[in-house]
């Protein structure tokens, strides 16, 4: 799985990466993925899976997916 941390969300990654490759076998909810990556949910405004915008709370992703998290400043607006 490839995960993009848009805007200041990359600041929450210990290595400040904006793209992260994750080996994830079992499907995982976006909320659990965000927790696993240490992302504060309040800072996530928009999520796209395979380039389609989805809701944060009811979507599962797995190995082949491309997931992009965007914060309020870089997603919902300037």
């Amino acid at each position: 799985m490839r995960v993009h941390l848009g805007g200041h969300l990359a600041w929450h990654d210990p290595q400040k990466r904006s793209w992260i490759a994750i080996d994830q076998v079992a499907p995982i909810s976006l909320i659990d993925l965000a927790h696993q990556l240490g992302l504060p949910l309040a800072e996530i405004a928009v999520v796209a899976v395979n380039r389609c915008t989805v809701a944060l709370d009811d979507t599962f992703v797995s190995d082949a997916d491309r997931v992009e998290f965007f914060p309020p400043l870089g997603g919902g607006g300037e």
């Binding site: 805007g7 969300l9 504060p40 405004a45 919902g76």
Partner: protein
């Protein structure tokens, strides 16, 4: 003894070749502590209504804020203001860089220029002295050359030069100013005003220090040290330094509000060509900063590939990438960088220039502009080569470029037919690259702003949409009471916008960058209050700072009312009331009824008459500017 400001305005009459100094009392300055407030006060006092914006009677004000030049991050901004040749109303644009701080060190808070030079001239200001010098040999030359020649002539490579390029000389109505080649007062056509006066440049040099005039210099130094740490520790400033505004492209596209093909939709199929990763790979050559700022949000670019782009004029910001990119249907970031370089060279506002090109593309696609009009150019969405060529034609006023150089509103009037529907402007100023259908508070700002559509009148809806978010929590000291969804258009949203507008206006007055204070970024509200007190010695509160911002906006509104603007001008382009056809927000438009109700609520929050959209006498008196009510009553 006053603190934090020089107390002096340099007055210049180019027709009479006369220069003199005006003293500013502290009591007056506390009401109008610089920037937008001081400029609006001076324009209302000195400029009669109805003056030709491009005639000698217009007054060009360049005004620092109280904090401009203080030795800490983001205290770099100054305001350029005059009657706008683009809107006919209050013209205003802020810039950072180095010129404002240098002007403060040279002993002046502001410069006010009227008249018209008999032949091209430039102004030389140094340590309280000023003179008008010949610029005949500088006319028609690029800013890079002009800056080098002036520095050589004055024998000082640290002279800071504010100037216009070819666009300003040719009176392109959306021409701006540049300082240090990379910092722009882009909006509302202040470069055309300077060009109409045959004033090519203003060179400044000063030897005083901000701390010498501050009330508590040690507190200012300590504040600056804290900010250096905060810049590294705060996610927003970290992101500004790492990617800056170009990093916004992908997120706005995912949200369905990346303006695409003249705001026809909000999702661009070529977005990967414009993303930060492409920018970093194909353009990026370095990073730069403004005076004393640790954020370093400015990017340098250099290209020698499909296009040749010099690194002299700075890299494209988000607005420029979306403007020349998705909004023109173009996925080639190198072409965008070339258009950005040309706008820097000609000192054209990248927002209005790109929006005007997108407008012309849509007119061409609908047969309203023909190949005969364009000299055979296929002015279609996606044609990068022609897009770059159009920037050149606008600056030179060649063929269709001559018409487009007057902006979308005037061009649409000449073209006729459906062109007015394609002209995306408010009060004549083109829309920035944020679609209000996805963040409606931004739309209220576009509609009500005295200078026309502007994305920096307040903080965008998404910053105060989640009560747990960092930006929302940092806005609480301003009196924000409730988080609201980005697309909620209501009385609560109108009042939230009004509150945040006051804070944002205060920033424009005091000389702070939009990327400094909370809620956008890293400087807590209470720290801003503290540093204003440390600079001035005034016992200020958050409420007084909000009133400063509100007072400035009210004076700008009085200026517009005096010029005949009314509620009918506080609106949005018709297209925004129509639903987006594709993307994540397909089917979403702005409800006209909800919009009008929210505007009424906003007028009421501001203490303005909802019928005329003019400030009431009671509100102006409460703000200490009752004298301005007479101007409204006489209008």
């Amino acid at each position: 003894m006053h603190h934090g400001f020089t107390g002096k305005i340099l007055r210049v009459d180019l027709t009479a070749r006369r220069l003199w100094t005006e003293e500013v009392a502290e009591t007056l300055y506390r009401l109008y502590p610089g920037g937008k407030a001081l400029a609006a006060y001076l324009l209302l006092r000195d400029l009669p209504a109805g003056v030709d914006p491009l005639g000698p009677g217009n007054v060009l004000i360049l005004a620092n804020g109280l904090l401009t030049g203080a030795p800490f991050s983001t205290a770099t901004r100054f305001t350029a203001a005059a009657r706008s040749p683009l809107t006919g109303g209050f013209g205003e644009s802020e810039a950072g860089g180095f010129w404002g701080p240098e002007l403060k060190m040279a002993g002046f808070e502001a410069i006010a220029v009227t008249g018209r030079a008999e032949k091209p001239a430039y102004l030389w200001v140094k340590d309280g002295q000023a003179e008008i010098r010949d610029a005949t040999r500088l006319w028609k030359r690029d800013p890079e050359d002009v800056q080098a020649v002036i520095r050589e002539e004055l024998g000082d490579r640290l002279v800071r030069v504010l100037q216009i390029g070819l666009g300003g000389e040719n009176l392109v109505r959306f021409a701006g100013l540049t300082n240090e080649l990379r910092h722009f007062n882009g909006r509302t056509g202040m470069g055309a005003v300077m060009g109409s006066k045959q004033l090519k440049a203003i060179a400044v040099r000063g030897s005083s220090k901000y701390l010498e005039q501050a009330y508590e210099p040690k507190a200012i130094v300590e504040f600056g040290r804290r900010l250096v740490r905060l810049v590294k520790e705060h996610p927003a400033s970290w992101d500004l330094q790492d990617r800056g505004t170009p990093g916004l492209i992908a997120g706005l596209n995912a949200a369905g509000i990346l303006p695409t093909r003249n705001f026809h939709t909000g999702e661009f199929e070529g977005v990967d060509g414009l993303r930060w990763e492409t920018y970093e790979k194909e353009l990026l050559s370095g990073r730069r900063s403004c005076f004393a700022c640790a954020v370093r949000c400015k990017r340098e670019v250099k290209v020698d590939d499909r296009y040749q782009v010099t690194d002299s004029y700075g890299g494209p910001e988000y607005e420029t990438i979306a403007g020349f990119g998705s909004n023109c249907g173009i996925a080639d970031l190198q072409a965008v960088a070339k258009a950005n370089e040309l706008c820097g060279r000609y000192t054209l506002d990248t927002i209005s220039t790109s929006a005007t090109v997108a407008f012309a593309m849509e007119c061409f696609e609908h047969g309203l502009i023909s190949p005969e009009d364009t000299g055979g150019l296929e002015l279609r969405f996606g044609n990068a080569e022609v897009m770059v060529k159009m920037v050149d034609m606008i600056a030179r006023r060649e063929q269709i470029g001559d018409l487009l150089a007057d902006g979308t509103r005037r061009a649409a009037e000449v073209i006729g037919g459906d062109a007015a529907y394609f002209a995306m402007h408010v009060k004549g100023q083109e829309l920035p690259m944020h679609d209000p259908r996805g963040k409606v508070g931004v739309g209220l700002g576009y509609a009500i702003n005295e200078a026309g559509a502007d994305h920096l009148t307040a903080f965008h809806d998404s910053m105060v949409a989640n009560p747990e978010s960092l930006s929302y929590r940092s806005a609480l000291p301003l009196g924000v009471k409730k988080a609201l969804p980005a697309r909620e258009l209501s009385r609560d949203k109108a009042e939230l916008y009004g509150l945040l507008e006051n804070w944002c206006s205060f920033e424009k007055v005091i000389g702070l960058c939009y990327f400094g204070p909370a809620p956008r970024s890293f400087i807590p509200v209470e720290e801003v209050v503290g540093v204003v007190a440390a600079a001035s010695g005034w016992d200020v509160t958050v409420d007084e700072l909000l009133r400063i911002g509100e007072r400035a906006t009210n004076l700008a509104r009085v200026f517009d009312v005096r010029e005949g603007f009314s509620r009918k001008d506080d609106t949005l382009p018709e297209r925004l009331f129509q639903p987006l056809e594709t993307g994540p927000l397909a089917g979403v438009g702005i409800s006209r009824d909800d919009f009008e109700a929210a505007m009424t609520a906003l007028y009421e929050f501001k203490g303005w008459d909802p019928v005329t959209a003019a400030p009431t006498r009671a509100r102006l008196e409460a703000l200490g500017v009752g004298w301005a009510a007479e101007m409204i009553e006489a209008a």
